[in-house]
């Protein structure tokens, strides 16, 4: 019964607002509870997914780290350490026009039902300060091409996008 209570909100969460259809580049959907012991499972999936999409080894590590840090922030700050709250993840293939033509990329959408977050608090801290904490956002911004936070209804949405590097791909081909 407790499982029902835990996972019912997830269904509402991942279908709310946007309709991710296969035709729009859907790659993968994941729903999890806010339990830190599951972070390693998501990292494993991220490593394989980024590898499959053709990212370099360094980019696979940095994108995986960014998603891991984003989930950590949700668990710590949005849910305050509660381990049974819902988190939904959606991974899509996206494109953008550039001077080179069409760039392929990966979009990661992370949704949670925590309280609204002040976007001003999402700036991270100066790296010159030697103190614990505040590094997660730095890792996320360092890894991704786009980081957008929005509040839609009762849902916090973090959208992360990383584009493949065409020059690097050409070198490998």
């Amino acid at each position: 019964m407790s499982h029902m209570k835990t996972f019912l909100p997830l269904r509402a969460l991942d279908t709310r607002g946007q309709n991710f259809e296969l035709s729009r580049g859907l790659l993968l959907k994941l729903a999890m509870r806010s339990d830190p012991s599951l972070l390693c499972v998501v990292r494993g999936a991220m490593e394989r997914l980024t590898e499959t999409l053709g990212f370099s080894a360094a980019e696979c590590r940095s994108v995986t780290r960014a998603v891991d840090e984003a989930l950590t922030n949700i668990m710590r700050h949005s849910y305050g350490g509660c381990v049974d709250r819902p988190i939904a993840m959606c991974f899509r293939q996206v494109q953008r026009r550039s001077k080179r033509g069409l760039d392929e990329g990966l979009e990661v959408l992370l949704c949670d039902r925590g309280p609204a977050i002040d976007p001003a608090k999402l700036r991270g801290r100066k790296l010159e300060e030697i103190r614990p904490g505040g590094l997660g956002l730095h890792f996320i911004r360092q890894a991704m091409d786009m980081v957008e936070f929005t509040r839609v209804g009762r849902t916090n949405r973090l959208r992360l996008v990383k584009y493949l590097q065409p020059a690097k791909l050409d070198l490998n081909s």
Binding site: L39, R65, M75, R76, L127, I130, P132, G136, Q142
Partner: protein, 110 residues
């Protein structure tokens, strides 16, 4: 993650294996601070050679260990950093603030 302790003279060595993330970084932090603050060990050494992944909460635990050791005039040393762990410390511009060695022999020789 697994963490075990070896004691040699005035040195404590923590052998850590696996991933250090939000699920277990509090355990690392607790073990480090106990050794530094309560046991007043003069030299605390972290064997990182089997750490595959470390996140920002793990790095924060190491920084807390370093700060506590500085406050008490003891030493906090890392050795055997994997490429991934080294990368994370470089990204956070913290690599230079730690005393880092390639292997245990070097870490214990100084």
């Amino acid at each position: 993650m697994q963490i075990s302790t070896r004691r040699e003279d005035k040195t404590t060595i923590f052998d850590v294996s696996g991933d250090i993330d939000l699920a277990n970084s509090p355990e690392v932090r607790k073990a480090l601070l106990r050794e530094i603050r309560e046991n007043r060990t003069l030299r605390v050494v972290m064997n990182m050679s089997k750490v595959r992944y470390i996140d920002s909460s793990g790095v924060a635990s190491l920084v807390e260990g370093l700060k506590a050791s500085r406050d008490l005039g003891s030493r906090f040393i890392l050795f055997g950093l994997s490429g991934t762990a080294r990368e994370v410390l470089q990204l956070s511009r913290l690599l230079k603030i730690f005393e880092v060695y390639d292997n245990e022999e070097q870490a214990l020789a100084r």
